[in-house]
Subunit: 257 residues, 4 copies
């Protein structure tokens, strides 16, 4: 289980959300409250959309809480749309290639959760990744596999359909493999313009996911950044959050295929 | 604050103490119970006496809990006298040079605790390190400075006197600098034959230090490795533990000079 | 292209071959003479057979030439059979999981060379890895894929046959994929008792491989460790080197299947 | 010996100088032509002035040539004034704290060269660093010590005087210590507005330093980035380069005090 944060809105410095809040993501890397484990120290990553078509990324295998590079980057970099992730490995190695966010062309993706008994399903998941994407697979996580499955399922054309289709495929494959452990997932993905997040589980315990939608700012977090709980709303289970053309946040049920 | 463990006795594999106990040092790197913070993820190190005159050392800036190298080394290496340390930085950087144990020639030293307001005293502490040792200083911690002060105070000739003298000097320097924050310390040091540990504080809250002395095995730990508390004894405050010529564990009060 | 070294014989300290010779493997990490590039700084690894059934391993993403851990380990560890490898990436990431030697149970393997246009063949190679081994795949290199293919082809039962069969499969798959870039490879693999090495290429430029067989010591190297060229013999192309039951070094042609 | 590059002019992406030229700084990290050693793989760093008062920095202990973070940052970040440095250690450890550029408040500094027999002089150099700066010393290099000496000598008020005074002090201290090995140095330092560089040696072999001053762009490099040597001019020995109020590059002799 991991902790993550994503922002969409007027340009702000990354540090405003990564470091400044009382229960900032950096604080959550040591003291997560709503995760299985309080410590998320198996690497981290940030990704941000700036002046370029593709997002910038910085991944590191050290814990986030003491990383001077992250501190400097978060002080310097402004973005209208960024992702940040602190990792608690559920079995795979601590390597940069296993750190979120993952990116491909202009798409960025990150994830918290777990495919139950992933070691039994890794090969099947990977088999759904098209050849031209497979050669881009750099790590060994279930998260990156799901991202490439989504890309293979048409993420660039119809993100909602691709996400629903991918979730459905994973659920089917788990059933086929006789896996009863749950598939739990929160995720966010964006191409810098379109923006989506989802919360899902095959059991009744999806990972936590909150959002705050105020003053043109949309913030998504695994855990609230402060105790002003009034401003944080829960993303309901089996729900996709998206921003419509008018910039309005919209929630709709997932419809697995 | 950090957590550490030291062993002296018949040769055992390092993993027997580092990994196997329920509340092993590796477990303490994530879930310390008697420290200010449960997480000790700012690097780690092991040192061991083997067939060579000088101890072997392995230091790493990653957290210990997921380090495959440490796991393999601890499975392979046997020793009659070894040190292991998981670090929680109290301000200085995460670098190999700041990871314990420190070694010089055939001496090895590690430490838990803190010199109060060290940033005000660093230069003064370093001024007590003799020239020929100063060029060996690789990091920036108070711990390494204290080790080199002890060497400068005759550690190789009279370890007990050198330790007492060094503690006295630090206390005096803190007073001279008007520092009222406490100086707290547990430490162990050995040349592979002689073996010493100490527990000290200028206030009434020295860091925890336990020992288990059974069947020719002496184990020193920041926290007990299991819940069989009967076998773990507390090293009293202001006390030095040492092993006499007959191999018997002896406790005596510190006598700061 | 990488540089490697392997030893089999009476127990010696690793440093005797890693550091002490004029053109030691550490020197080769900066100044390789017979490789495409002089620098092999994309991580390194050592593996050794000791008192345990499985080999010990130490992998690091830093260059070998300045690694204090490696220096200390090589000074401390003795072995009758060890591998060491300095890596120059041919495209895949610098991560511990991509550093040689690879190990599985009691087998250890390392490799120098390249499967031509590997990015086109990675999926096909991986498809030949049996399920129970596939979940052990931690990196993304062709080298690790070949090792697991060899294991799947019966390495533990008949190493010579497994190696020949695997090479044949790779050659066939490259042909099927229309790849004309060469497949070049030197490799060594051992379970601590049995010991094999091979030199192969689909063109007439296999990577260099030398051996020195004197006084019960067998040393295999990508490049000679010193200029006493008299003692270094070339392993001929398309040849497998093995040690027979009487401890005698034997060379025999590869017979791809 | 190291290689470095610095830019001052209209905002450009860092990659334009770090990656795109034929003999870019990244190429120089593997294939330096005018340095003692071709390989500069003991860590690297970049620093840049952006929208903030203090410069951003990114330091890493891995070689620059394969660092995906650097590649992404250099693609994203634009700056009117940036520094980049690839390191070849002359003895001190590979750690982030020893990687250039160094920064303090709004000043940034980097360096190539060496104080002869630095191990004999380290303590003396450090003794010239004022207390309030000494606590900021994070590494162990001569480079960082010289930067803090310059700050102590009034860098913020009169950079030219501070540099000359510091060089003079180092020379005097070396003489007093009976050191005959040369003190060689190229350096650049800036607060984002004022901009200075210098080339110096106590013998007749100062490290190479070139500049290109065209179309409002000032580029300083240890080695030319391409073979169009016509555009690269040598900074003469014992010379300080500076940009005057009108933006014009000016050279003047160093006047050690």
């Amino acid at each position: 289980m991991c902790r993550w944060l994503s922002y969409r809105g007027p340009a702000i410095y990354l540090e405003e959300l990564l470091y400044e809040p009382k229960h900032s993501l950096i604080d959550q890397s040591l003291h997560a409250l709503e995760a299985k484990t309080p410590t998320n120290g198996d690497g981290f990553g940030v990704g941000w959309f700036g002046a370029r078509k593709t997002p910038g990324t910085y991944h590191e295998i050290l814990p986030a809480w003491n990383d001077a590079n992250l501190k400097s980057l978060a002080h310097q970099i402004q973005s209208t749309n960024f992702f940040a992730h602190v990792r608690a490995s559920t079995g795979t190695a601590t390597s940069r290639a296993n750190c979120h966010p993952f990116s491909y062309r202009n798409w960025m993706f990150m994830h918290n959760g777990q495919v139950g008994e992933y070691h039994k399903l890794r090969r099947a998941l990977e088999s759904r990744i098209p050849d031209e994407l497979y050669i881009e697979r750099k790590g060994t996580t279930d998260s990156e596999a799901i991202f490439f499955m989504m890309l293979g399922n048409g993420l660039e054309d119809d993100p909602v359909r691709a996400a629903n289709k991918t979730l459905g495929q994973v659920v089917d494959m788990m059933e086929a493999a006789g896996i009863t452990a749950p598939f739990r997932m929160t995720s966010v993905f964006s191409d810098g313009e379109r923006y989506y997040a989802l919360r899902f589980s095959t059991d009744d315990r999806p990972p936590s996911l909150y959002y705050c939608d105020e003053k043109e700012r949309l913030i998504l977090v695994s855990e609230p950044l402060d105790s002003e709980t009034s401003s944080w709303k829960t993303v309901p289970p089996s729900t996709m959050l998206m921003v419509d053309e008018a910039g309005k946040v919209e929630l709709q049920p997932l419809t697995l295929q």
